[in-house]
Symmetry: D2
Subunit: 350 residues, 4 copies
């Protein structure tokens, strides 16, 4: 069996440690190194005691040791705006780069610079990257790319929910898509902050970054692509007192007299061959806990015939299909493996 050498950069963050954990039991990727800016020299289990004496434990290497030539694939689980500094030399070394950050997601460089508040230092590389949402992008394109940009968590859940309808004639041409999304706290990453302390988060729900979240242009880019028209949308994320999970509730105005069964059929057809997407029976609604620790997305279809609005819900694990396990799915495709390899059962850490 072919074995590819893999590295995880930024291994101590939530998406990083999840990557490490999945790679530890993956039959085709071998976790060769894990890099950390702040904690090099430490064991990963010092930060995540779940890994004590387990295969996923590893000594963290300093960033200065990172050389793409040592690996077949390098996963970047670094903060936004950090990946762009690492990518050029990694590409030069010949390794494939799977970037979980936002740095190469947006084709519109000014939009990137507006929403993320920084200059893009390697804008010329953006066109060489593939935005790899595997259920919406041709797998050959992923397989042919050296620089692969993984979708964000909110965009993944939202695009899976909206794409079949926006591609169809059932949606109104000028519908403004309303996206009301709910995320667990791990979406904020692993850092000490007052806002994500247990006490202020527990037993509460609130919206945040209303009409101002940096995932907005990414969702717009993806939905406009599938709809083949500029899609206007309003995106409101909410913080939910749970560790993991995203539920995206998407409202799309449809043509008059749309039949809910036709909407449902669209979704069944769209995802019938997708092993990681389950469209629930009409009347059922997905729960985020049903997909925790998996690469699955579960979708619920409903339709308000009094207003002709479709309400599509999609539940994913923000650290799974929304980040780390989707990155492995993408890497599987990139290396010509079955996309499900290593993802049937894996262990989540956060």
């Amino acid at each position: 069996m072919e074995k590819y050498q893999a590295a995880v950069v930024g291994a101590t963050g939530f998406t990083g440690v999840e990557l490490v954990s999945i790679l530890a039991t993956h039959p085709n990727f071998e976790l060769a190194s894990a890099f950390s800016r702040q904690d090099s020299g430490a064991q990963l289990s010092d930060l995540y005691p779940a890994l004590v004496e387990r295969d996923a434990d590893i000594t963290l290497s300093p960033m200065s040791d990172l050389d793409g030539a040592d690996f077949d694939v390098v996963f970047l689980a670094v903060p936004h705006t950090c990946a762009m500094g690492l990518v050029p030399s990694l590409l030069g070394s010949g390794a494939k780069v799977v970037d979980l950050s936002a740095d190469f997601r947006l084709k519109d460089i000014p939009a990137f610079e507006h929403w993320y508040g920084v200059e893009h230092t390697v804008a010329e590389l953006v066109d060489r990257s593939i935005y790899a949402l595997p259920e919406l992008v041709a797998h050959e394109m992923i397989a042919g790319a050296q620089l692969i940009s993984c979708p964000g968590c909110y965009p993944t859940a939202t695009a899976l929910a909206a794409a079949p309808l926006l591609r169809s004639t059932l949606a109104k041409d000028d519908a403004v898509v309303i996206i009301d999304a709910k995320s667990g706290v791990s979406g904020a990453g692993r850092k000490a902050s007052l806002a994500t302390q247990f006490c202020p988060v527990d037993e509460s729900v609130s919206a945040y970054k209303v009409a101002a979240h940096q995932h907005t242009p990414e969702i717009e880019q993806t939905l406009s692509g599938v709809a083949d028209r500029p899609v206007a949308l309003t995106f409101t994320p909410h913080l939910i007192p749970m560790k993991r999970g995203i539920l995206s509730t998407v409202y799309i105005a449809c043509e008059k007299d749309t039949d809910v069964r036709d909407v449902f059929q669209l979704y069944q057809d769209a995802y019938t061959d997708e092993p990681f997407v389950q469209v629930l029976a009409l009347g059922a609604q997905p729960k985020t806990s049903s997909v925790t620790g998996t690469n699955n997305a579960q979708i619920g279809v409903a339709f308000d015939k009094r207003t002709n609005i479709a309400i599509i819900t999609c539940a994913i694990d923000n650290l799974g299909k929304g980040a780390s396990s989707q990155a492995i799915q993408v890497a599987n495709i990139a290396f010509g493996l079955d996309q499900e390899v290593g993802l049937t059962a894996f262990r989540s850490i956060v």
Copy 2:
């Protein structure tokens, strides 16, 4: 100081016990009796040990002992469709009735019968009842009524969020209002069910009764009233892993070139004299935990200038402003008291 004799019917449910607890420290109402269909003879503290040896503890009386003549006011905290059987004789006895159930909320009897799936046995009394959302209804009308119907939890949060904008010229005339609401688990009441067990609820979020929740016509009735036109809406409730709290996120399409400061001004003006409603500064978003155990509503105003959609959020405690403390507020008004009496600080039990 004037003292009124009060009874709580259905004292063992979540809204019932909260009523009992507030009444126990209310200076003008005296909790004379608490009635229970199933637990008469027991102490309320047998079910809620928080009340052991406290003033709010009380021996539960059987329903057969209920006689409106014994009380100045009777609070009905009974399940929907039970109140209509109790109200006629209570009204006959001369007591004021404050009904927390849905039985007298809807003026449209066929709509009631459709959404609640039962015949309304005393439809002729509905017109005699006042739907008492105190921030939207004239207090004299509440004071003059003998039968007072308290709003539901979702309708309270949603109406407070939507009313100022729908009453204004900023909202588009034909805007379909999208309501994406999030509720804690106590909204399902106190009963043993698989769906509200700890394990399936914890660490998960999901939508339920999508486009099919029985509060929909109540919200339509209220919003149509304030807008003075038939308001179409889509309402999607979600279950959140927390005990108490509702956040209603309301999307309303506005006229082109609406200025967020004008929207904000509408809300400040609407609620400037309302002691229980706080409009947060632009940029701030309400958290449900900020209003837990209170009769407060906190409102956040935002506007997506890219789509001309206002996003108004309102946080309440579903058992407070959404039920029991609002019922006390209403009773205060009904008896000519200051509406804040007994509600500055009280103890929540659930």
Copy 3:
């Protein structure tokens, strides 16, 4: 690769569905059938939507179809006192029986009948069963048995914590062992009850069945066995607002001038070859979340030199090492497989 046909009886309970999920990806066991008393005919995914379209989904068979001759191994995940009715005919059919209930754990039949409040109808079979805590029992004995009784969750965590010290000369001979255990809510199983509803459990901790829990004699039996003397103990379980996990904090009085490093060495030596037990470094304390969804046990060693009391903590997943994954570990041993097969990574459902 050898394949054994496996059945799960009681597949809809929490331990049942976890067994199903692990078996679905186990290389040597094939989940041939899943039986349910109440839900036969349904899909398991109707009750656990996490399983929709996944390999672990299965149509539930009626109990009347259960025939041991169809299987190499039958896992009994039925309520206590139900297993004893099923075991005789299963043994007669030649299948191995792995019983997760309490029915065959206690060698002392009167003690069983006292603590569980029922007559033991097949007491003569108890001596034929092996109590299979794999870290404390010789694997050959497990391999040679046809009827295997799996330990309870509290006894597993407690025995792993207490055994090395009780076997040693460091513990005082007459020490009363104090066991203060904390469990997540799934320990109460999947049933609608007021006590395990979200609202009464969330944001609270309490003791229950103090000095009266039915696991007491099982713990006594195990600790007395390892200590080779009758061990007196006091056991206090507590309910914690989390889904899964047990932490057992065990207090054992030691001989004067005991050195904490000697205690620590005992534990390192005891578990150095055990793949599922990790003894944390001195000063570290196990968290239940570190073992959630695994078959691991993590142990913390501390010593209060002011009182000569050792405080040993052990964290397990009550549905993992405390029930279902341990049952698979035991079955692995029983069939001569590596005990880790299928347990490196699996998916937890509850």
Copy 4:
């Protein structure tokens, strides 16, 4: 009605804001000023939006403005080792000082310096302070003191649980008291740290500072005082995934043939006149949620006749009876008010 001017120093911490909230509705204390080292000039509602437009909101004053002469009573809700720097000048100004920190709790200065790791700069003042656990200390002594030291949260719950038995002849003279305590996360205070982030805390339980918690000598001092002998104890705190609440489970070896009813009687007698302590009926166990947001303590009495060990549990709100509301109870006593004034119902903020 007499009014006393009160100040809260350290108003932005969890205990500080709770003090502010209680004082805001207290009939005899007037919240004149709230001081903050880091946030002076801000509104308290900037940090705690629950206070927006409420009476408890207040502009935070700089520490440099603190002058005891302006107040009748100054509550110190500052970190340990900060109070000792403030107390001398406050005492000089004539104000009563109610100190919620640990600085004046321990009469044994070397013990303080050992456990807290700092030198005590005003050791001579310790003898002038009263350790004010109102159920165990004569109220006249509290009333006569100018410097009042409030007990810690763990010591309060533990002392209320242990005192009646340790004072009696039922407890064995040389019994080592085992204290296994469980606390919500707010016990760690309001500060950004990795350890109290939502993700590592949620869905987990663990012990911490085993046999090394700084409350140990305080508990020893109190229990030795009530027992009138040096009491040896082992204290193990645990972190529970909930915001508020402490449950202390205390194990005390008793004389042979002790009758549980005699133990129970001890507790009933001890607390029969105490308005804030409720001894639950035999067989019942206290839940922390029953006392959340109150100054109550609920006690459960159990006895293991197989080992002659009494298991006494005590539930308090760590920020209520364990800190802020107990400080108000103490201040009530100190100013000759009924100890229940202002504590029947108040609003909790954290």
